[in-house]
Amino acid sequence: MSTPHSWPDDPDGTAGEYVLGTLPPEERAAFARALDGDAGLRALVANWEARLAPLAVATPSVAPSPATWAGIAARTGGTPGAVAGGAQIIRLERAARRWRVAAMGAGALAAGLALWIAAGPRPAGEGAQYLAVVDRGGALPALIVRVDLGSGLVQVRSLAAETPPDRSLELWYVGAGAAPRSLGLVTDASARLPVPAALRQGAEGASLAVSVEPKGGSPTGSPTGPVIYSGKLVRD
């Protein structure tokens, strides 16, 4: 099935056909993947998009039904409580990405974080590392969690996570379809906690959550209080 792709021979023609939509599906998918890493191809595509756009803009407008916006609002965090599981993950991924953008910009807090990420301890082990920005839905992360399978440690950096009086914040690991597992209490300073066995087996797609518990942690071993933060693990 490895038909040779035409873009090395005719990059501009392939870019033009990509924009037209006439590349065969397999070549279209391969070209879309190639675009991610090739600014030259992206520029060719952008040129064709700009050249042809007036033709699309000439299409008569059609008013969408109200349900269409409702669906978008639900999937972009506009209606709290009405968010489906899949949409929640999208929003959390977005939160992490936004934080990364913020960390590259100005702002003392963001700059400090970027430094911590860049210069933070990197154990010699070769195990996979994961970084989670545990977010409250706002623009800034409340917690940054690094899971290092090589050294077997979870590192928690608390960023102004407000602990209610007489309560403790507890960090949970939630594997896909599994019951939450406590990783320990979140303290104000950075904390290091051992990686549980379930997490060592690979944390792809897992998420982390922080709940409000009685002082000293959940008495039952499962979250009992409201979950105030949650975030998905992304590879660092």
Partner: protein, 183 residues
């Protein structure tokens, strides 16, 4: 100039959306969704599928607004590209053959679009240059771009092999580019 101001508005909204501002997403939706739905519907020809795709398109805009670079191009071009890609990808996933009816008048509609959309000079140049492309090539370009016709569908319409359509498309693109760059 109206279109420049409109572009500025759209660019500012996209920037706000990149910052997670859902009210800005709503404002962007109010401004652009009817146009984008028109574009998607023309390709998919099914209202339900088109509204579904419009949802995906705005979720994608929400996710990718941070990657929009106003120096790289007009905001409407960026939005149109996301909408068309969403529609084309959906169309190609649906294996069932669809009835392709030719809608005439794309070229005619281009110059007399009087609602201040887009950049007048570019639009006139495109209309002029499409007019210089040979007939079967031009029809292939327009049907593919505006209505999502595949090489195979075009081949069936013109009674020729799909490879011939590919050649027409690429030659048509070269003619178009040459004319636009000379304009």
């Amino acid at each position: 100039m109206g279109s420049a101001q409109r572009n500025g508005d759209l660019a500012r909204l996209i920037e706000a959306v990149a910052g997670g501002d859902q009210a800005a997403l709503r404002a962007l939706y109010d401004q652009a969704a009817p146009k984008l739905l028109g574009i998607v519907l023309r390709i998919l020809r099914d209202r339900g599928a088109a509204e579904d795709t419009l949802q995906e398109v705005f979720v994608r805009i929400w996710q990718r607004a941070g990657s929009y670079d106003s120096r790289a191009g007009a905001p409407l071009v960026w939005l149109v590209a996301i909408a068309r890609n969403g529609a084309i990808d959906r169309l190609r996933q649906e294996k069932a053959a669809r009835l392709t009816q030719v809608e005439e008048g794309w070229l005619e509609r281009l110059p007399d679009l009087g609602d201040g959309e887009g950049d007048l000079a570019r639009r006139d140049a495109l209309a002029h240059c499409l007019g210089t492309v040979e007939v079967p090539q031009r029809e292939c370009l327009v049907l593919a771009y505006c209505e999502g016709w595949s090489r195979e569908e075009l081949a069936a319409r013109f009674g020729c092999p799909a490879n011939t359509v590919k050649t027409w498309l690429r030659r048509g693109l070269i003619s178009l580019r040459g004319c636009l760059e000379a304009a």
